[in-house]
């Protein structure tokens, strides 16, 4: 067992860390305040190749495996989570569907632009009445000649306001439930496609989530992604593969909070000595360090499993859950260690505290992750148990 990353990967990771720490992070407070990522940061992010993280080399991307992706995600977690989310949504749920399920023609049409960041991707599953229960979709797609006509709406769609290409799940056969859902690649210029209002959020500022509407929206049949009727399965696969990536982003944010907390604890003096000398502060930091190492080991193991082609439904749900729980615990402790300063906007801690909260909700809530884990536990038991044990 070798826990080291390859030298090439280390070089990529270090290069991205330098870029994040020195170029992006100095503007993280401004991104939060303005709810906007400066154009020059977006341009540099494209130049450095971050938008092509999930895209094979032959289509102009980086072509790295899941371990590689996670090691980069870890670094982009070290700054504004709004920034992280814009890249995460594009390189994760926004592009992996086309990479994994697209036809050669679709890949050639979209992936080079997505790799350079000229085409931004978004993923549109959630609807006002279909959140955790994604099977309850109401958006419909009806075949008419060589087109599908989409009607309905989605909400909370990350990157919608800047995206050029949407992976949209819609019902093609309402009699078949989960098996009657199909994925479509919808161009932002499609007739009848409307982007609605952008939500005001607690955190992730700089990343925008919006409503979208389909009013007799026309999508050519060649834009069906994967097989008709397998859209829900596609969505679940796209989400599952992304979960280790979200854990890695949370790992990076946790690590950043830990570094800031260790530094502050050594510098801040009360009662005539650094607060680090108080045992309770030491214990907070010891717990944070232990949480981070646990998350790091587990995240990379799940990523490695993905790269081996193993089934990771259970482990990816665990990583997503663990990552968001740990990030939230660490953000809370970081605020505590910083005292009043931890609550102030002059300092980055409160931003991470707000940003951490969403990780227990999006890409499947914590409760839903536990449901997934439990369902897998049950399935494994049913496979091994003799019929006599099963009531």
């Amino acid at each position: 067992m070798d826990f080291r990353l390859s030298p090439d990967l280390m070089e990529m990771k270090n290069s991205i860390r330098d870029f994040i720490d020195n170029v992006v992070d100095p503007l993280a407070g401004q991104i939060d305040q303005d709810d906007h990522i400066p154009e020059h940061i977006m341009k540099l992010t494209k130049d450095i190749g971050l938008f092509g993280l999930s895209i094979p080399e032959e289509y102009g991307g980086t072509g790295i495996d899941m371990v590689g992706k996670c090691s980069i995600y870890e670094e982009i977690g070290r700054t504004s989570n709004g920034y992280t989310t814009v890249i995460g949504a594009h390189t994760g749920i926004g592009t992996v569907g086309i990479v994994d399920m697209g036809t050669e023609e679709q890949k050639r049409r979209y992936l080079p632009g997505m790799a350079s960041g000229d085409i931004i991707g978004a993923f549109a599953l959630t609807e006002p009445s279909a959140g955790s229960n994604a099977v309850a979709l109401k958006t419909t797609a009806v075949r008419k000649g060589d087109k599908y006509i989409l009607n309905g709406s989605k909400h909370y769609i990350t990157n919608a306001s800047i995206a050029d290409l949407f992976t949209v799940m819609a019902v093609t056969d309402s009699s078949k439930g989960a098996k009657g859902i199909t994925s479509f690649l919808v161009d932002k210029s499609a007739p009848g496609f409307i982007i609605g209002k952008t939500e005001e959020k607690m955190g992730l500022r700089g990343s925008h989530s919006s409503e979208i509407f389909f009013e007799d929206c026309e999508v050519p049949i060649e834009n069906v992604l994967g097989v008709e009727g397998l859209g829900y399965v596609n969505a679940l696969t796209i989400l599952a593969n992304g979960r280790a990536g979200l854990a890695a982003r949370n790992l990076g944010s946790s690590q950043k909070l830990f570094e800031l907390s260790v530094k502050y604890a050594h510098e801040r003096e009360q009662f005539g000595k650094p607060i680090f000398e108080q045992q309770i502060i030491q214990h907070y930091l010891a717990e944070m360090a232990m949480d981070i190492e646990t998350l790091r080991s587990f995240t990379y193991r799940v990523a490695w499993m993905v790269d081996q082609g193993m089934n990771v439904i259970k482990e990816a749900a665990m990583a997503k859950l663990l990552g968001s729980e740990i990030y939230n615990r660490i953000a809370d402790k970081a605020v505590q260690i910083h005292g009043g300063l931890g609550y102030m906007k002059d300092f980055p801690i409160e931003r991470y505290y707000r940003d951490a909260r969403i990780t227990k909700i999006y890409e499947g809530t914590s409760e839903i992750q536990k449901n997934i884990i439990a369902a897998q536990i049950h399935k494994e038991y049913m496979k091994t148990a003799s019929p006599a044990h099963i009531k």
């Binding site: 090439d8 130049d47 450095i48 190749g49 993280l53 080399e57 102009g60």
Partner: protein
């Protein structure tokens, strides 16, 4: 345009320097491309992209310097050359470095050679000018702007607080000053591609250089860290007493009046 860039592997600017046994300890230290050389690499890439041609990065050093060359390739240089002196030489100085580089470059028909203004470790700023002299070509140091039109070159150089505008012609060697450009970060696809770019390794033999030809001319007598700054002293008492004491101290302790 046939462009060469001289690159040196140096200590990371954030490293704490530890001196022991008369030497700077390298164990566990991080190494980087000399920051001024990054401006040189960036400028070379921009000039190639605008005018066509090829960028070759060259370093003298040991096996470890391959990492910095790969980074330069990842930024966008086309080829790299490592002149490996590890087995042949214990020491290098400005003279021997310039000599080795001139032997390598003499038949390369370089149009433009870029180097850093200084290396942040030795800080001599001599290798570039010495090399130009050996090659018999023009050189300009501390360049902050470089415009090439055919073989005519218009340069702005930094002259400590002011700038000077010069015109010269190719072939030319320039040393890059901060402000010349904003060096790019190596991109992820760039790092992948760098692995497949040519990296040639040469030894002194390959350049027909005899070890005696490159015996160093500089002797290092001693290496030590700058003395620790002593804490300042705050004078107390009423103003006229403080002034009196200050004058006294300047006289007796600092011995400046």
């Amino acid at each position: 345009m046939n462009i060469f860039v001289l690159v040196k592997r140096t200590f990371d600017t954030e490293e704490k320097i530890v001196v022991s046994g008369g030497k700077i300890q390298e164990d566990g230290a991080e190494f980087i491309i000399n920051p001024y050389d990054e401006y040189a690499i960036e400028e070379a890439i921009q000039k190639r992209d605008a005018l066509g041609g090829k960028v070759t990065v060259v370093t003298i050093g040991g096996e470890d310097a391959e990492k910095q060359l790969r980074t330069a390739l990842a930024m966008g240089a086309d080829e790299a050359v490592l002149i490996n002196t590890e087995d042949d030489l214990d020491e290098l100085d400005q003279y021997s470095s310039a000599y080795i580089l001139s032997e390598y470059l003499k038949d390369k028909e370089a149009d433009l050679i870029l180097a850093g203004n200084v290396a942040i470790d030795g800080g001599s700023g001599q290798v570039g000018p010495r090399l130009a002299d050996l090659l018999g070509i023009n050189y300009v140091t501390t360049v902050t702007s470089l415009e090439i039109d055919g073989t005519n070159v218009k340069i702005v150089r930094d002259i400590e607080g002011d700038s000077e505008v010069l015109e010269t012609s190719l072939p030319l060697l320039v040393t890059a000053q901060q402000g010349l450009n904003e060096p790019r970060y190596p991109s992820l696809p760039g790092i992948m591609k760098a692995k497949k770019k040519p990296l040639e390794e040469l030894e002194l033999d390959d350049l027909d250089i005899d070890e005696d030809d490159v015996e160093v001319k500089v002797e290092t007598v001693e290496i030590y860290l700058p003395p620790q700054k002593a804490a300042g002293r705050v004078l107390e008492g009423d103003l006229s007493a403080q002034v009196k004491e200050l004058v006294n101290l300047l006289h007796s302790e600092a011995k400046v009046i």
